[in-house]
Structures are given as C-alpha cells and as structure tokens.
Symmetry: C2
Subunit: 209 residues, 2 copies
Amino acid sequence: MSQLETKDRILDAAENLFSDKGFSATSLRSITTLAGANLAAVNYHFGSKDALIQAVFRRILTPLNNDRLQRLDALEARVQEPSVDEVLTAFLTPVATLWSESKRGPVLVRLFAKTFAEPSTNIRDLVFSEFEGIAARYIPALARAVPHLSRREVMTRLHFLIGSMTHTVTNWDMLAGAPGADELIEQMVTYGAAGFRAPAALTTSKGTP
Amino acid sequence: MSQLETKDRILDAAENLFSDKGFSATSLRSITTLAGANLAAVNYHFGSKDALIQAVFRRILTPLNNDRLQRLDALEARVQEPSVDEVLTAFLTPVATLWSESKRGPVLVRLFAKTFAEPSTNIRDLVFSEFEGIAARYIPALARAVPHLSRREVMTRLHFLIGSMTHTVTNWDMLAGAPGADELIEQMVTYGAAGFRAPAALTTSKGTP
DNA sequence: CCAGGATTCAAACGTACGTTTCAATCACTC
DNA sequence: GAGTGATTGAAACGTACGTTTGAATCCTGG
C-alpha cells in the first residue's frame, strides 16, 4: 500500500503508537506489525528501541523549532518592539499549525506533550537540548515585551504557557466542542498575554533578601 | 523499621515508584521489594496491578478534592461574590499545600500531574469521575466571577490553568531557583487571574452561526 | 548478467513481567 | 493452648518483551 521506505513506515507507526499508549507500553512488535515490517528491522535501522524513540522525536522537534525561530525572526524584522501577543502567537502557532495540518498533527502534538510527563532521562535531555535554542531567542523577546517582569518571572510564566499548551492539546477531547486550531490560538494568546502583562507577583525582585 | 501495615507500605512504595518511573515501567517486584513485602502481597491485598494503581490514586485524590470543595464552601460563606483570584487560590492551594507539607508532597503532586499524560483509560476515568464534583462547583463560581465569558470559555481557561499547574509541578526542577509553594501560588494566581479577566476571545459566543 | 552490499525474514535467545499456587506462619477467639 | 481464618512465604506458571542471529532475498553498479 505505502510506497515509503521501511524506515519511514516504522517511524510513522511508532509515532502513532507512542502517542496512543506511551513509550514503555508500546512494544516493538506492535510497531513493526503496524508498519508492515519485520521485527528485526527496528534494530537494523535504528539500533535499539531507545534510539527509535529519539529518532521519532527528532523528526518532530527539528522542523517545529525551526518554524518557531523563523517566525520570531520574521516578527522582529517586521516590527521594532513586538508585543507579548505577537511573540506568543509566533511561539504557539507552529504547534497549532502542526496540530491542524493533517491527520498526523494531533498525533505529533500529543506525543510532544507526553514528553514532559515521561520519566525517561534520554527523552527529557533530547527535548531540553532542542528547546535551548528556542528559549535563548524567545525569553529575551518576551522580556522586552514585558519589561516590568524580572527574567525569572518571565521564565516562570513561559512555563505556565507551555503547560497550558501541552495540557490542552493532550486532553483536547475533554474540551467541549473541541475547537479548531485557530480558535485555540486565539484563546490561548488572549489568556497568556493577559497573564504576562499582569503585574509582577514577586516583591523579592525589588531586592528583598 | 516501619510499623505500618503491609497494605500501606505497598501503597507508599507504589506512590514513589509510579511517580518516578511511570506506571507501566514500574514492576510489582520493585514495589514489593521497596515495601519490604512479598511479591504476592500485591495481588492478595489489591487483586491486580491495575487495582493497585487505582488505589494509589484514590488515596491521593479524595482528600485533595475534599479540601478544594471545603475551601470553596468557606470562601462562599465568607464573601458574597468571590473574585477570580480568591476562587483560583482556593482551587490551587490544596495542591501547593500537598506539595509543601512533607517529603511525600512532591511525589504525590508529580504522580497526580502524570495522570493527564498517561494513556490508560482506567486512570483517566478515575480521575475524571473524581474531578466531576470539583468542576460542578468551581465552574459556576468562576463563571460568576468572570461574567463576561461564556461558559465554554470559562472551561477552556480552567483547562489552561490546570495545564499550567500540572506542568509546573511536574517540571519543578526546570524552574530556576525552584521557588516554594507560597511563591508558586502567588505567581500562578496572578498569571491565571489576569488571564481569566481578559476579554472574551470568541466572538462566536455572541451568536455567530 | 552477475557479483556484493543492503535489506528482509523466521526463529530463537535470555530476561523480566503479572499472576497463581499452596504450604508455612501469624494473630486472635474460644 | 488448640484451632481457625488472615496473612506471608518461596517458587513456579505462562507470556511478552528487546535483542541477536544467520540464512534468504532484494537491489544496484560494473
């Protein structure tokens, strides 16, 4: 049926199954069966189950984060001092786009969201190293947009935003009506930007011991 | 060493290991070893691994949600029209209290947070059924505090808040400085309340087809 | 067309898992 | 203090897992 290479069919199948059942609960046998490949193909093409997991993540994260960086570049080239709303939109849109672009979107997004709750050090390390470049660009941009916040509070609120995003896309079906990607972006930017613009919560940033 | 019953020692050990490594990645053998109990004790006292997982969750969720309901009751008895900040504080404080009350706190909170990313239908169903009573009380309270939002947007923003909370407590160590529970509550209520007070993002709530 | 590396295949490896079994031991009642 | 039900113990059950093996097959360049 599919004309894809075995390697890609395995990645596709792994993506879907990992996204559904988690990593340790998904067997290589179920992956290769769904992919129409032999069990040994995983270890032949990737080396181990762990390496397969990392390959699955890399295939998702690299273009996603590139998209994020590109959008921030374009934004900063267009306007001199981007607003919080604009920065958050640049940050969130790639995920929402990924989500809505095809049948593969929801799978990817759920898988991506699952990472933060997974205990595996390998996966966490991979995602964090991939995210470092994003943080290095977005945190200064956010700090410029909300100059009343300390760098620490900017990071904390970015964590809040990421949490909202991952939880929402992971538990999409719980939301009544299951709105589309545009609607989600709109609501999350509205909510998150207002949160970022809220006054500093920490008085310690003014010099309390 | 411990004078606790075997049943409780197993629950304690399971709590810690589930919180660290996830459910399917934690074996009954590692649980009973840590608990100083025999392997067969799990099936004797709980019936199966799945039933053990549910027992672990029930032991956490029941008092947590009772605390939430109690705080909302006390709040509504004290002031006639509670503000968003007050409702969110009532909602978030039990988790933060649980977090900071002892060494067990972080374990419980991480475990609780892990639920939303876990694929197991059993766990999700349990958590949702436990959460229904909370939603039935908190969503109307929130809707009264932010009357400019449709019921649907209130629910969406509550999802955002829950996401922020679960993500933050799950990835606590990623936050620079690792602030205490009081500080977390303060920041999250500031952020979330501003988000709730933000204008409605959906124009569809006014009657668009 | 045929050599030779790349890929696929069926089968087996050893290990770890959840669960079951049943005898041994404990705790409590009469 | 003997008897009885609750609990614990050591061991084994069957199954499923990730990985490895080595022969069979495919594909491509000369």
